[in-house]
């Protein structure tokens, strides 16, 4: 199955505390009025300009193995392969907040107003991250009617955890996401910026909690995957709407 999704801009806007965190700003109580105004202006502009959309399509394990192999540059074996071994469903996806917000960010910098540009950039980045979760939610509901107890769908993307970023080429070749307007340049960079892509994997929640002794773990600078996966598993198991909320029964 293949789905083309669109959302109203407010659906893609992360909660305010997420926006503040994304810009290393303090919590609401400690925010100065001028920084608060900056965020409000940025949110208003984002809501005016963003046109979030996505395309997602189921893919068989065999076909995905070819996508994952890509150009053979992975730092394998990969943690994702451990998850795939227990997966019940897979789908490729590409999502974007559209071209207008990145264009506005560039304009702010060109117009010598870096504060507005930087703030809108932070909001857009957080929103693009949230799109992966929105897509995951939609796919799980449409494909499985929501996740079964103890099961969970999570997104995995090229460029992370040993899956070389050159894998974008194979992903785009398999999905052909023309409906979204997103394309790749020769560096495997998605245009417009603030777009996300990857594979959705429906598997037991425990399967997503992978070991930490893969070759890619040795070169990882952050080691934040464990906490991030745990947060996403928990997030996916909450009811509600909007970016970052889940779909489970």
């Amino acid at each position: 199955m293949r789905w083309h999704l669109t959302w109203p801009a407010p659906m893609s806007l992360p909660p305010r505390e997420t926006l503040l965190e994304a810009q290393d700003l303090p919590g609401e109580g400690e925010l100065t009025p001028r920084l608060g105004r900056l965020i409000e202006d940025g949110v208003r502009e984002y809501l005016t300009l963003a046109t979030p959309c996505a395309v997602m399509e189921d893919i068989t394990p065999a076909a995905f193995r070819s996508v994952l192999r890509g150009e053979g540059r992975n730092l394998g074996p990969l943690p994702l392969e451990q998850v795939l071994a227990r997966a019940e469903g897979l789908a490729l996806y590409v999502a974007t907040i559209g071209p207008a917000v990145p264009a506005a960010i560039s304009r702010w910098f060109a117009d010598r107003d870096p504060a507005r540009g930087y703030t809108l950039d932070g909001i857009a980045s957080a929103a693009a991250d949230g799109l992966s979760l929105l897509v995951t939610r939609e796919w799980t509901v449409r494909r499985f009617g929501g996740c079964a107890p103890g099961w969970c769908a999570l997104p995995y993307s090229p460029g992370y955890c040993g899956w070389d970023v050159s894998g974008q080429q194979a992903l785009f070749a398999a999905l052909e996401p023309a409906e979204t307007g997103v394309r790749l340049n020769e560096s495997c960079l998605m245009q417009p910026l603030k777009s996300v892509s990857g594979v959705l994997v429906y598997a037991p929640a425990a399967a997503h909690r992978t070991r930490q002794d893969y070759p890619c773990c040795d070169t990882c600078l952050t080691h934040e995957c464990e906490g991030r996966v745990e947060l996403m598993v928990q997030g996916m198991n909450m009811d509600g709407g909007g970016a970052g909320s889940g779909m489970c029964r």
Partner: protein, 212 residues
């Protein structure tokens, strides 16, 4: 409080309209553009930069101050050019070929201008020859390169190699930065310096200019 220190103070507060107004008034009153630049705008940005380093303010606060700095610079730049005011140095910056991310590079440019450098910003997706040509043409002493993708990092090596091939390694220094870039990578490709963030980029570039 003199009008120059008033400019610095309002810049620190991010009051761009007030800075524009004060710089305009100071020029009309005959205050030398160089004083307005060095004791007003650059001095104000130095205070803001230090507050940021001490974690007393946040990056958007710095950028609001930068907006105020630009408000003053817009009025000053035409007069500075005619007055032969020396800058701290000229730096060519850009995001390397294939990379369209430019927020980090933009922040470096803002910090450099705030520190009195002349900045030639080539934008993003910049091929190696363009970096070197621009540096040679503008008399820059430093090329600053940014990359946010592992796939575009090798372009940095191409730029460093080209500087050497053209016999410019003694006059043009190179500095690299960006999320996937490290000090080890900088050493490996033969770059002269690595900067972790925009603030440290200014310090490193100051050091590179000083040892020329």
């Amino acid at each position: 409080m003199t009008i120059v220190s008033d400019i610095a103070k309002n810049l620190e507060l991010g009051e761009d309209d007030r800075v524009r107004e004060l710089v305009g008034a100071a020029l009309l009153a005959g205050v030398p553009p160089r004083d307005l630049l060095e004791q007003g705008l650059i001095a104000g940005m130095a205070v803001v930069g230090e507050q940021f380093r001490q974690r007393e303010i946040f990056l958007p606060d710095v950028l609001l101050a930068a907006r105020a700095m630009y408000a003053g610079l817009d009025l000053l730049e035409p007069r500075l050019a005619g007055a032969g005011v020396p800058s701290a140095g000229t730096v060519v910056i850009g995001s390397v070929k294939g990379d369209l991310h430019d927020i980090g590079k933009n922040l470096v440019g803002i910090m450099l201008r705030g520190a009195g450098f002349r900045v030639v910003d080539l934008g993003n997706d910049v091929p190696p020859a363009r970096f070197v040509d621009a540096a040679a043409e503008s008399g820059a002493s430093v090329i600053g390169m940014s990359a946010l993708l592992t796939t575009t990092m090798p372009v940095m090596r191409d730029v460093v190699r080209l500087v050497t091939e053209r016999g410019l390694a003694g006059t043009i220094r190179t500095i690299v930065g960006g999320a996937p870039v490290s000090a080890d990578f900088a050493r490996d490709i033969g770059a002269d310096a690595y900067a972790f963030d925009a603030a440290s980029a200014v310090e490193r570039i100051r050091a590179l200019v000083a040892v020329r």
